[in-house]
């Protein structure tokens, strides 16, 4: 500092000033804990798992992957998981969107969002237990339907696809809804008013104004909700048929690791799981790039 003030040359900048011009100053050091954390709990385990997956118990480097993709009992888990995660995410968004359109106009938004967030805090296991009682053969749902004479014998809604489906919707919906709500309420209400005064009916306002502005946000909401649903494990075990229709990919990984004690195979399955998710997320995000992604305000101020 002293050298700067005492030197006659004003063109000379101190190291601190030059670093500051590049956006590096004392505050930059605050990212260090985050960097260390990321390295320790994400990057390192990932690389460790990746290497482990190429060191199978027997066979060559790719033996685990060859085994996975040649055994239908294993590779079918990808489809089984997708068959759960994709419809669950789509339906969550399809329900969240109209609700968000209504909620954004409400004055007691906070109360409603609090109620909606509660299921997240309950945890999957509690929801699964509840659903077992509620949707089970002796549960209220079947008994009520039988009482009013809609059905003769209990409907089977647990220990199969639909049990997991319901549980995923219940635990995933609040998250999807909150994301959707933030995107919907981020759109300037004046845009819809402008569309209405210039002759657009409610469907046209949605189709030509709201929808194109929402697509980028909804894609993000889809990706995040999808990744959550794709990792389904507890409800697939508790509410599903983990040996058959809901044998999802995480169950396969679990069995490899803790029933066959083949950590290398389990790592390979985890890598395949990550690759499937990444593939879907990346392709959705590149489609998203085709849409308008700028400000959703109608003008300045």
């Amino acid at each position: 500092m002293i050298s700067v003030t005492s030197t006659p040359s004003v063109n000379h900048l101190s190291l601190r000033q030059r670093l500051a011009l590049r956006g590096i100053d004392g505050v930059t050091l605050l990212v260090l804990p985050a960097v260390i954390f990321l390295l320790a709990v994400f990057i390192y385990p990932f690389i460790y798992g990746l290497i482990l997956s190429f060191e199978p118990k027997e066979g060559g480097m790719f033996a685990n992957y060859q085994k996975f993709f040649s055994d239908p009992f294993l590779y079918d888990t990808i489809l089984t998981t997708l068959w759960l995660a994709v419809p669950v995410t789509l339906i969550s968004i399809a329900i969240a969107l109209p609700v968000a359109f209504r909620v954004r106009l409400m004055t007691h938004q906070r109360l409603l969002t609090t109620i909606l967030v509660l299921p997240v805090t309950l945890g999957t296991v509690l929801v699964a237990e509840g659903l077992l009682n509620y949707l089970g053969p002796q549960g209220w749902f079947s008994r009520t339907l039988m009482m009013i004479g809609v059905i003769d014998s209990p409907v089977k809604l647990t220990n199969n696809y639909w049990g997991v489906f319901a549980s995923l919707i219940i635990t995933g919906f609040p998250f999807t809804f909150l994301l959707t709500l933030s995107y919907v309420s981020g759109i300037d209400p004046a845009l819809e008013q402008a569309a209405a005064t210039h002759g657009a009916k409610s469907w046209q306002r949605f189709r030509y104004v709201m929808w194109p502005l929402l697509v980028p946000g909804l894609t993000i909401a889809f990706c995040l909700s999808f990744v959550q649903a794709f990792a389904v494990f507890p409800s697939a075990v508790l509410l599903g048929a983990p040996a058959g229709p809901t044998r999802v990919i995480s169950i396969a990984a679990y069995q490899a690791a803790f029933e066959q004690y083949d950590y290398s195979m389990a790592s390979a399955i985890a890598m395949i799981m990550a690759a499937v998710q990444l593939l879907i997320v990346v392709s959705l995000l590149s489609i998203r790039n085709l849409f308008y992604r700028g400000s959703t305000a109608g003008g300045k101020g």
């Binding site: 845009l191 008013q193 402008a194 002759g199 046209q204 308008y292 109608g298 003008g299």
Partner: protein, 355 residues
């Protein structure tokens, strides 16, 4: 001329009211607007002018009264069925559409054939002087250009009525003057019936054929700009029209509408806007430019200069009288702060109201 407006004689607001809970934002607003007229709704913030505009547009429902185009009642229609054009304060352009798509939005909703729509968009672009900008997104335009697009979008559908909600308030002072002239030019060219909401009296006076002054949800005065400017009916309208100086005193002589009022030690005269008789308490209201610093006489008020600033041709300052009243005045030359001056009020231009 391709762009025109649909045929009708008048738009009538019949005791239009709007209440929010127990608060009446609009009370029995009645007004009839001739085709082609440019109406300004003028008033301070919270006076109900935007509420009135939103009710006419259909974005707010009315809680009383009706809106008619000739004999057709329209306040029961949804906004999309009223067929009006509207220019919003923040422009409300669709950010994902190009300028052309924005302007053509109303035509597309009305399923106007493509060839005709293209021609009308082109003409609207020419009218707002945005030739060659049609392919841009609104985000690539300046504020003034965005507002031109918003105007083009509203007029291209040839609406019976164009509604403008403080369209210039987001622009800087220079652009505001330019756009004001532009709006006037477009109105002269198209003759579209327009309701223009503003809190800026200059804008209202320079643009409108008739100005409607609103206060607390009620119409205080309707008139041509010169009427409002020179002969406001009420003291609050006068205040709003720039009569910043108000001096309270006793009426000492009445001669027709010429009224003499004793204010402190001096006697001021003005034109009575209320019925006043000798002995009444009255307020003399005068614009800053009608209060001029000069030499002492029987009709001048003595005051002490508090601020003075140079305004090009002359000086404008504030001064305080012995009674503690603040006056805004014009002066041909500067005066020292704290010095006493004598202010004369133009008796032909000052107004007298009952206090």
């Amino acid at each position: 001329m391709l762009l025109a407006s649909s045929p009708f004689k008048e738009i009538r607001l019949d005791r239009m009211s709007r209440a929010f809970g127990s608060h009446n934002a609009l009370k029995d607003v009645s007004l009839s607007i001739r085709k082609g007229e440019f109406i300004a709704l003028l008033g301070p913030s919270g006076c109900g002018k935007s509420t009135a505009l939103n009710c006419i547009a259909g974005l707010l429902s009315t809680t009383g009264g009706g809106i008619f185009i000739d004999d057709k009642r329209i306040d029961t229609l949804k906004p999309e069925d009223r067929g009006f054009g509207m220019v919003f304060q923040n422009y409300a352009l669709f950010p994902h559409m190009t300028v052309r798509q924005n302007i053509g939005f109303g035509l597309k909703m009305r399923r106007v054939p493509k060839a005709e729509a293209e021609k009308r968009i082109e003409e609207a672009l020419n009218l707002v002087r945005l030739q060659g900008q049609g392919h841009k997104l609104p985000g690539q335009l300046s504020g003034g250009q965005q507002q031109r697009v918003a105007i083009a979008r509203a007029i291209v559908i040839e609406p019976p009525l164009v509604l403008m909600d403080e369209p210039l308030s987001n622009l800087d002072a220079k652009l505001r003057l330019e756009m004001r002239a532009e709006i006037r030019r477009i109105h002269n060219q198209l003759g579209a019936t327009t309701i223009y909401v503003t809190h800026d009296q200059d804008e209202a006076l320079s643009l409108a054929d008739r100005v409607v002054v609103l206060r607390d949800g009620e119409i205080r005065q309707v008139g041509v700009p010169s009427d409002l400017y020179e002969r406001p009916d009420h003291l609050d309208v006068a205040e709003f029209m720039g009569y910043r100086n108000r001096l309270t005193g006793k009426v000492i002589a009445v001669d027709g509408d010429k009224t003499s009022i004793a204010v402190g030690a001096s006697t001021l005269s003005g034109i009575a806007r209320d019925t006043l008789k000798v002995g009444d308490t009255a307020v003399v209201a005068a614009r800053a430019d009608d209060v001029v610093a000069g030499t002492k006489s029987g009709t001048t008020v003595e005051a002490v200069v508090e601020t003075i600033e140079y305004r090009g041709r002359e000086f404008v300052g504030t001064a305080r009288t012995a009674e503690g009243l603040e006056l805004v005045f014009h002066a041909p030359q500067t005066a020292a702060l704290g010095s006493a001056i004598w202010l004369s009020v133009d008796p032909a231009r000052a107004l007298a109201f009952a206090a």
